[in-house]
Symmetry: C2
Subunit: 197 residues, 2 copies
DNA sequence: GAGCGTTGTGTACGGCCGTACATATCGGTG
DNA sequence: CACCGATATGTACGGCCGTACACAACGCTC
C-alpha cells in the first residue's frame, strides 16, 4: 500500500537520528537536527515522525537490531562448553573498550525509557531478547539476573568513569550462575509471534 | 525594588530544580523553569548557577544526601543478624512502591552522568557511598556487585514497566553474597577525608 | 560616609524549537 | 485521462531558551 518516492527516505532519517544522538545526545536531537544530518528538508522529518518520541522509538528499535546482529555475528554465546561468566565478562570488555560512543548511544536510548513511556515496550523487548539469548545457556531467572547485573556493571563504568575490571565482572557473574555444567536449560514454548509493528 | 539579601536563595533554587526535574524531567529543566518554580527572577538562577550542569550537580548532590538520610533513618542495614539479601529486596520493594516519581527523579539525575562528565564525580560518590554502607555487612567486592545488581533490577522495573518481583530479587541477591554468617567484613582504612566541595 | 566587591534584578537579543499549513509531486485506480 | 490519497517540501509563527549586560541594593572596610 505504501508507495513512496524515496523508499529509503524514512530509513535515512532514522540513521541520521542515531548519528545525531551519538554525537550530541538525545538532548541534541530535534526534527531539524535530524533533517540536517540526513540532508532532507525539515518537513520530511516531521512528516515521517510526527513527534520526537516516534523518532526515538525507531532509533531504539534499530539500535536493538544492530546489537542483536553483533551478538549473532560473535557466535551468539552458543558454545555450551565455554564458561558463561568468562564469556560474558570478555564480551563486556570488548563492548566497553575504546570508544564510548557506541555503548553510550545504546544506553542513552535504552535509559530514555525511564521518562518516555513510548520507549518502554521497545526497551522491554531488548531486555527480553538478551535474556532469551542467555536462556539457551541457563535458566530464565538466572538469565534475567545476568542481564541486570551486566547492566549495573556497565552503568557503573559509564556513569562514574571507573575502569572496567574484567576479573571482578567474571567473579560476580559466576556467583549468579548456579553450579553445574548446564543447569536447567530452557527453551521458549511455542506461542503467537510477538508483534513487531 | 523590595530587595532583600536572601542567604537561602541558592538553596531554594536547588529545591525548585529538583521539583522541576521530578515533574517534567531533566529535559524540562531550564534557568527559567527553575526560576519560576522557586519564584525568583531569571537573573537569580543564572547568577548562582552559570550553567545548567552546575544546577544539576547541586541537585544530584542534594538528592544523594536525601537518599543517605533515608537509609540512615531506616536503620542503615546495620543489624548483622538479619539476612542481607532479604533486607535489600524488601528495601527495593519499599523504594519502588507506589509513586514512581521519587525513584525516577533520583535515577534520572544519576543516569544523566552518562552524557554529562560534570556529574560523574557526584555519581561516583553516590555509588561509593552505597557500597561503603554495604561494606559493613560484607566484603567490598560483594558490596559493589550488590549495588550493580540492585541498579540493574531497579532499572529493568523502571524501564520496562514490569512489576517488581521481590522473591526473584532476594534469590539473586543471595547468590551474589558469599555463604557464611558474616563473611569477610571490611572496614575502611583511615585516610584523608574525601573532598566534598 | 565613601568606596568597593558581592549579590540580586530587569530587559533585551539572537537562536533553535515544534507545529501548522499551503503547495507540489507522484502512484495507483477507475 | 481524471482523480485522489500518500508522499514530499518550503515557509512562517509563536514560544522557550541561554546569554549578556547595565543597574540597584546591600555588607563590609577604611
Amino acid at each position: 500500500m505504501a508507495r513512496r518516492y524515496d523508499p529509503e527516505r524514512r530509513q535515512r532519517i532514522i540513521d541520521a537520528a542515531i548519528r545525531v544522538v551519538g554525537r550530541k545526545g538525545i538532548a541534541g536531537l530535534s526534527h531539524r537536527s535530524a533533517a540536517a544530518e540526513a540532508d532532507v528538508p525539515l518537513g520530511s522529518t516531521t512528516y515521517h515522525f510526527a513527534t520526537l518520541d516516534d523518532l526515538l522509538v525507531a532509533a531504539l528499535r534499530q539500535a536493538e537490531d544492530g546489537f542483536a546482529k553483533v551478538i549473532a555475528a560473535r557466535g551468539g554465546l552458543t558454545d555450551p562448553r565455554s564458561d558463561l561468566a568468562t564469556e560474558l565478562a570478555a564480551w563486556m570488555r570488548e563492548w566497553l573498550a575504546g570508544d564510548r560512543t557506541g555503548v553510550e548511544l545504546e544506553y542513552e536510548l535504552y535509559l530514555a525509557a525511564l521518562r518516555r513511556p513510548a520507549l518502554r515496550p521497545v526497551a522491554a523487548e531488548w531486555a527480553d531478547d538478551v535474556a532469551a539469548l542467555l536462556s539457551r545457556r541457563t535458566d530464565r531467572l538466572t538469565a534475567r539476573a545476568l542481564v541486570a547485573l551486566m547492566d549495573g556493571i556497565c552503568l557503573q563504568v559509564l556513569l562514574t568513569g571507573a575502569p572496567y575490571d574484567e576479573d571482578y565482572a567474571r567473579e560476580v557473574l559466576a556467583r549468579v550462575i548456579p553450579p553445574g555444567p548446564s543447569p536447567r536449560p530452557w527453551s521458549p514454548p511455542p506461542g503467537p509471534p510477538r508483534s513487531d509493528a
